[in-house]
């Protein structure tokens, strides 16, 4: 059968590679065209205490030619005899030295005391790190672009305390579930993203190479300025900016690699399957179906659907600036084939960040990005590869696809169901204007725009594999989505230093308006299968269906913040935001969100001045109230469902119908999260050892929850009410050790977070909220109830297997059990097993989330390793429980009970029924430790590079998801997605990929 591939797409891919190659090539040509008589100069750069300074910029004045000092502070350059060398380094005063015919120039740089401070990006501004009163963690660009992934949030994994990043799946382009300090609501618990001032719900479009830093705002002091948007934490992303008066630097970053499935699920072979399936039939009184001796190993369908898949990334950047303008621009191409066939993601990103100084007082700037990305999803083969019988092969002798009923044939799915593609076109950016006036005031107007267009198309040909896997007419589906998100923020900042006092005041008004519209259609009976016909007009008019719906919301906010510092020692921050949202009814439309925080830099006290043990000590505390507005656009309004059409008469006319099918609650109001935080920041041994320790408590009140109402009410949904309260508390710890011994420097970092989640209330009259779809109608595996954690697993505890008739008559049971079935614990000891005997079986929320990282540098070599993991959480293996039919078996079934004494844990083989009740049979340990990334690199010596006008050239080898230590039997213990009242369900996830890549990083 001829594969229905859109050939044009492939041709286009080749074109793109060609263009990028030519671009790269031309860069090398450009930089090989200089030539002049030069003399060699070398030297060492030291700080005032005589320690060598690595990383100092050494540039010939008036050119872009130069180098940086190595780990010993040494440099060497070839340069004209009359040149002037400029030495610059962050935190030090620059020096200019004419070489005057010398061949050795040693320099001592003086520390710039005014510039010693590290600054941290906060909401609507930046702040001295020493002035911070909030809990904020930062990750810098070098750690962000290291992973070969499309999703930038993954670089926070294991690097920032208090943050749990869970990859939603291993599919190309898949995002992550981000939880900051636990789950504070039963609803959307995703943080707010702020990209260069633009408030967004996701950052799928971001090119990791463009990111300068990511700041995670965790406590109320930091997040309250975002009011109702900040209850789940805030991640501020700052993209790379140019600097005024800086020579142009061109950077090239590229890698190429290969991905493979990190681990497979152990499934039985054909012979074992035949044996188990026969037993299964006999267990229900039927004749065996297979002659076991006819079968051998058979097909492992996983091997059939998986492949080794390439991943590629190329990034070109240029940055620099004159006295009046600066720029940072980049172009990036990312392509990832999936480890499951027929899945792919590619993305092309342009970025243009410029600033224009109109006068000393007025600066104008923009951060613009244009993105095209497209995605093809695998056709749903993963679940089928898990379930399909190993006794069948993909095709029969005549080449036709095998009828693999009751499971769909994955080979046929690849052939017929993978003609889908989603294209995304996105423009995200902002224009801003800063005006300084009346000496200490700055006014900023920031206009942000996010335009997103998506078109998705899928085509299904006519085919027949089996009665349940067929299509009798071809069809094309088209769906276009457009989103518009406009943000306008106007703020005034007052900043004043006098004597021991430092004061910063911020006030502003912001508005945001969002609109989304979807337009789609379907037609059947296209006159052919060629991709040139995959358009609605080619289909039959009478078969058309169409859809067009829309939604919008708006927000109006007033914000205010005061920062005050006295003698750099005593710190105060107060914030207030008033938000109005269209999502709530008039009565409850506005909410007020205040916070206050205090800080004390103990290290500034006189009694700590003359010692070398402690280099930093700060204590800070905060309290605040923040809101969460992440509910549907019109949640409070009962909407009428249209097109509930009736049919009447012998002519079968379709007559329009519409009615209320769902309930809604017009009285919903904001969820409010109260957060308290106390934190310590410390440094020892001249900042060799640094760390932060925070303890927090977050209590969310009035949580909006769709409390399952009785089905007899008759609503097609469960309306939401402000019913629940949840408390999270925990400790976030960050520790870093860095030191240098001669040429050898190293660092070691640990982040660790604990989350203690407790539900305080779930609404009047509710004993428990059940959630967690195990895949079988009416079965829910998670329960949320007072004084326990959200969405813990709840069901029967197994205590053995009925070995014989005597067991069956003497041990309490539910009723339908026979010998060989699981024994469930009679918890209340009343002699029968029923729903009252169900117990808590575990929780998807880890006791501990941790990461650690190691770094070594020796001469030009560097080695980095990142580990991360969780401890104490469980996973619900739902795919194993879903057995409507006889499916293939995990190898665990081989340990089944087959007669007295054969097993006390694994029951006889059955589909459904007693052994498939919600029980700990399906709950597995989800703890894991993963070697997330290991990278070894070599930077060529500057001496060699300077000859070819290259500033910096590094090559590296990298391995990602190299190894995972876990007891979990599925593809990966990271289970993302799901509603918060039912998380941790593995219903057949896209497997995790292990990636090995090589890359280069160069600048000119």
């Amino acid at each position: 059968m001829e594969k229905l591939l859109p050939e044009r797409e492939n041709a286009w891919l080749l074109d793109k590679y060609l263009i990028l190659f030519l671009l790269l090539f031309s860069l090398f040509i450009v930089h090989d065209s200089f030539g002049q008589t030069n003399v060699p100069v070398q030297g060492t750069v030291l700080d005032s205490s005589g320690q060598p300074l690595p990383g100092v910029n050494v540039v010939i004045k008036g050119t872009s030619t130069g180098t940086i000092t190595d780990l010993d502070g040494k440099y060497s350059l070839d340069l004209p005899e009359d040149a002037i060398l400029v030495f610059t380094f962050v935190g030090f005063n620059a020096q200019e030295i004419p070489i005057g015919g010398r061949s050795t120039i040693d320099v001592t740089l003086e520390e710039d005391l005014s510039d010693l401070e590290e600054f941290v990006v906060v909401g609507y501004g930046i702040q001295r790190k020493s002035d911070l009163t909030g809990a904020i963690s930062s990750v810098k660009s070098e750690d962000i672009s290291r992973l070969p992934v499309s999703d930038v949030t993954q670089s926070l994994q294991g690097r920032v305390s208090g943050v749990q990043i869970t990859q939603n799946s291993g599919a190309p382009g898949a995002g992550s579930t981000v939880r900051i300090r636990g789950v504070g609501t039963l609803n959307n618990s995703s943080p707010l993203y702020v990209v260069d001032g633009m408030l967004l719900d996701e950052i799928d479009f971001l090119n990791p190479n463009d990111v300068e830093s990511m700041e995670v705002l965790k406590d109320a002091s930091a997040t309250a300025i975002y009011g109702s948007r900040g209850a789940n934490g805030v991640i501020i992303v700052t993209t790379k900016q140019g600097s005024f008066d800086t020579d142009t630097k061109i950077t090239v970053d590229a890698y190429t690699g290969v991905q493979q499935v990190a681990s497979k699920i152990n499934l039985v072979n054909a012979r074992e399957f035949a044996q188990l399936a026969n037993e299964l039939e006999q267990n229900v009184g039927n004749q065996p179906l297979y002659n076991v001796d006819d079968y051998g190993v058979g097909t492992d369908w996983q091997d059939y659907i998986f492949r080794n898949a390439p991943i590629n990334n190329v990034n070109l950047g240029a940055t620099g600036g004159s006295a009046k303008t600066n720029f940072n621009l980049s172009v990036n191409y990312f392509n990832q084939q999936g480890v499951v066939k027929e899945s792919e993601f590619e993305r092309l990103t342009f970025r243009l960040n410029n600033q224009y100084k109109f006068s000393d007082a007025v600066t104008f700037g923009h951060n613009l990005s244009f993105i095209y990305y497209n995605q093809q999803n695998e056709p749903g083969v993963i679940g089928n590869a898990y379930r399909a019988y190993p006794i069948y092969g993909p095709t029969q002798a005549d080449g036709s696809f095998t009828d693999t009923s009751p499971v769909g044939n994955p080979a046929a799915q690849f052939e017929y169901n993978s003609n889908n593609r989603t294209n995304n076109y996105r423009g995200v950016g902002n224009f801003f204007m800063d005006v300084k006036f009346l000496k200490d005031f700055t006014f900023r107007s920031n206009l942000g725009l996010d335009l997103a267009f998506q078109d998705a198309k899928s085509f299904t040909p006519v085919f027949f594999v089996s009665p349940t896997q067929q299509s009798i007419e071809n069809s094309v589906n088209v769906e276009n989505v457009r989103n518009r998100n406009i943000l306008w923020e106007n703020t005034v900042n007052y900043s004043k230093d006098w004597g021991d006092h430092r004061l910063n005041l911020l006030g502003g008004i912001t508005t945001q308006d969002f609109y989304t519209e979807t337009l789609g259609g379907m037609r059947r009976n296209l006159p052919g299968e060629d991709p040139s016909l995959w358009y609605l007009d080619a289909g039959e008019l009478t078969s058309q269906t169409n859809e067009n719906y829309a939604g919008d919301w708006a927000m109006l906010s007033y914000l205010f913040r005061a920062n005050y510092s006295y003698k750099n020692k005593f710190l105060f921050t107060g914030t207030f935001r008033r938000d109005g949202s269209s999502r709530f009814g008039r009565e409850n439309r506005f909410g007020n969100f205040p916070s206050v925080a205090l800080g004390y830099n103990i290290i500034e006290e006189a009694f700590l001045q003359n010692q070398s043990f402690l280099s930093n000590l700060k204590i800070r505390g905060s309290w605040g109230k923040i809101g969460n507005d992440k509910i549907d656009f019109y949640e409070g309004r009962p909407v009428v469902t249209g097109n509930e059409n009736a049919v009447f008469g012998p002519d079968e006319e379709l007559i329009y119908g519409a009615t209320l099918t769902r309930l809604a609650n017009p009285f919903i109001k904001w969820e409010e999260t109260e957060t308290s935080n106390i934190g310590f920041e410390f440094g020892f041994f001249d900042e060799k050892l640094t760390g932060e320790l925070d303890y927090y408590q977050r209590t969310t009140n009035d949580i909006l929850v769709a409390v399952p109402i009785p089905a007899y009410v008759g609503s097609a949904n469960n309306p939401i009410v402000n019913a629940a309260r949840v408390k999270n508390s925990g400790i976030d710890l960050t520790l870093n050790w860095r030191d240098r011994k001669g040429d050898f420097s190293y660092n070691f970092g640990i982040v660790a977070s604990t989350v203690n989640n407790e539900v305080l209330d779930i609404g009047d009259g509710n004993e428990a909220i059940f959630g967690g779809d195990v895949g079988i109608s009416g079965y829910l595996g998670s329960r949320t109830t007072v004084s326990q954690s959200i969405g813990h697993y709840y069901g029967y505890k197994t205590v053995g297997v009925f070995q014989n008739e005597e067991d069956l008559s003497s041990i309490p049971k539910r009723g339908p059990e026979v010998v060989g079935d699981l024994i469930f614990q009679d918890t209340n000891g009343d002699g029968v097993v029923d729903n009252n005997d169900r117990v808590i079986l575990g929780s998807p929320i880890p006791d501990l989330i941790f990461g650690f990282n190691l770094g070594f540098d020796y001469k030009g070599f560097d080695l980095r390793a990142d580990f991360n993991g969780t401890y104490g959480n469980q996973i619900y293996n739902a795919k194993k429980q879903t057995r409507f039919n006889t499916y293939n078996f995990e190898t665990g079934f081989l340990d089944r009970w087959t007669g007295e004494g054969t097993s006390t844990t694994e029951p006889r083989v059955t589909n459904g029924g007693h052994n498939y009740e919600v029980s700990d049979r399906f709950i597995e340990d989800g703890s894991f430790l993963r070697l997330r990334n290991i990278q070894i690199g070599y930077s060529f010596p500057e001496v060699a590079l300077n000859k070819i006008k290259v500033q910096n050239f590094r090559v590296y080898l990298s391995g990602t998801n190299v190894f995972t230590w876990t007891k979990y039997t599925g593809y990966t213990p990271e289970i993302g997605g799901g509603s918060v009242i039912g998380t941790g369900y593995d219903s057949g996830l896209y497997p995790l990929a292990r990636t090995f890549n090589v890359g280069i990083s160069a600048s000119f």
Partner: protein
């Protein structure tokens, strides 16, 4: 001190401040006032005659839904009974095998689906019953629409009460503080159903009074017919007989001559039809039902999933050469009227059979999941047999024989050598004969299981089939476990579950 530059700066600052002030002028209420797009809300619905009609149409639409008249429906009516086995391939949809074997529990998918599906229908009906009286509109149409809604509510409740016994009585859309309800006795539920049907009978037009294009809407005759059946299920034979008699003498209905054709396109809305769910197979979908697909031939021709397989016991129940057998059952190897020879999916095992009454000869656009075959809920033959059974119980054997023999006469299809008239006048013998007639006449039409329970012969019948049907338990299905769980103890489980 002011330089030129500073002046410019002040100008820019002034512009900036005016921007800031203009933001402040945005009217909060207008800016934040967003009405749902592309949909009505309860605030602007139920305003006029048209919307009232739309809301009633939406109740009919629900009759086609999966949880009302498709998979679970055939499960708890036919597959549960002695007429049919689960069908399909052995491993497929084990919850229906549990229904067949009476090994199901309160988490069974079918039990869950029926409960929520039928109560969602009640919800739609209640919207109309509560809101339409307030609308200023044509009074005649208004009472008809309310009559239709009450007929349909009664239909949903009648199915529910037979399935579960005692039920929460939901006679209006509940407010948030009213969700907690207890079950009321099935006697009260039956009273509630009778009130609805009595209202419907008094306010609905007869079938002949509707224009052709409206056939399929509830009628006075349908309301009386259901009322007759509702009384029969409470062993109130005199009422059942009187009501059936009233419908029979109305002249609105008659037996359709060609038994087999009743279930084909030509039999839709025929003289035989008292109430049926209208469906249509459009290219664009939106008017169909999967009722036929789930029962369709699995194999070749490939018409569906092959569930609801007529049992050996049903085969044996037919009298010799009863033409209804071939109009009810498709055997593996049969030749269909289309000339196709049936080849069942070999995985179904030996003696694979399919329901002929759910057979659709032509492939609907986009497949059998988009079938336009109507779902027959109440046929005139059913009514005649109700009349016959009730007549026999009240001692009117003459009438009983008349009605049962009307059914047999049509069943002969002109062949006088088969299905001789029943002549027994002994009440018990005649009762058995009528029950048997009811079984074969209405086989595979989702009546049998409820009849077996009503006639108190379930235990005996199932025992003969080796199925452990437990008296005191299996007369009703369990309440869905999730419903019991969230009720805080107010919804008690049925005994034995």
């Amino acid at each position: 001190m002011k330089t030129m530059n500073n002046k410019i700066n002040y100008k820019i600052a002034a512009v900036g401040l005016s921007i800031l002030m203009s933001v402040g002028l945005i009217s909060c209420e207008d800016y934040l006032e967003k009405v749902p797009l592309a949909e009505l809300t309860s605030e602007n619905f139920f305003q006029d005659e048209l919307q009232a009609t739309h809301a009633v149409n939406a109740i009919y639409a629900h009759l086609r839904s999966f949880n009302v008249h498709v998979f679970s429906y055939i499960g708890i009516t036919d597959i549960a009974s002695d007429d049919a086995d689960k069908g399909s391939v052995p491993g497929d949809s084990g919850f229906l095998q549990d229904i067949n074997d009476f090994t199901f529990d309160a988490n069974n998918t079918a039990v869950n689906g029926i409960w929520s599906g039928y109560f969602q229908g009640v919800f739609r009906a209640n919207q109309v019953i509560v809101n339409v009286p307030e609308i200023d509109m044509d009074e005649e149409l208004k009472s008809r629409l309310i009559g239709e809604a009450r007929f349909l509510r009664a239909y949903f409740y009648f199915f529910l009460v037979r399935t579960y016994g005692d039920l929460p009585l939901i006679d209006r859309p509940l407010n948030a503080d009213e969700y907690t309800q207890s079950r009321v006795s099935k006697e009260l539920i039956y009273e509630f159903i009778e009130e609805d049907l009595t209202f419907a009978a008094a306010n609905l037009p007869e079938k002949s009074e509707y224009p052709n294009s409206e056939l399929g809407r509830a009628t006075a005759g349908a309301a009386k017919s259901f009322l007759a059946k509702v009384h029969l299920f409470q062993n109130e034979y005199q009422e059942a007989f009187d009501l059936a008699q009233e419908v029979i003498s109305s002249g609105e209905y008659g037996l359709y001559a060609d038994y087999e054709a009743i279930f084909q396109r030509e039999g839709e809305h025929s003289s035989e039809s008292i109430f049926e769910v209208s469906t249509v197979a459009l290219e664009a979908g939106g008017g169909s039902s999967q009722f036929s697909e789930v029962q369709g031939i699995r194999g070749n021709p490939n018409n569906g999933w092959g569930f609801n397989s007529p049992s050996d016991d049903l085969m044996a129940a037919y009298e010799e050469n009863d033409p209804r057998m071939s109009a009810t059952i498709i055997n593996d190897g049969d030749t269909l009227p289309t000339g196709q020879v049936v080849q069942a999916d070999p995985n179904m095992g030996e003696n694979a059979r399919f329901s002929r009454k759910a057979w659709v000869p032509e492939v609907p656009p986009s497949g059998f999941g988009n079938s336009g075959a109507n779902i027959r809920l109440f046929r005139y033959a059913d009514l005649l047999l109700i009349a016959a059974e009730a007549a026999n119980e009240i001692g009117n054997q003459t009438q009983a024989l008349t009605y049962v023999n009307m059914v047999r006469e049509r069943a002969r299809q002109g062949d006088d050598s088969v299905l001789p008239d029943i002549t027994a006048t002994d009440q018990a013998t005649l009762r058995t004969a009528i029950w048997h007639e009811r079984r074969v006449e209405l086989a595979m039409e989702q009546h049998r299981y409820f009849d077996l329970v009503r006639q108190s012969q379930a235990q005996e019948v199932f025992a003969a089939l080796g199925i452990n049907w437990i008296p005191g338990k299996h007369e009703v299905y369990p309440i869905p476990q999730a419903e019991v769980d969230i009720s805080g103890g107010l919804i008690a489980q049925n005994p034995g579950y």
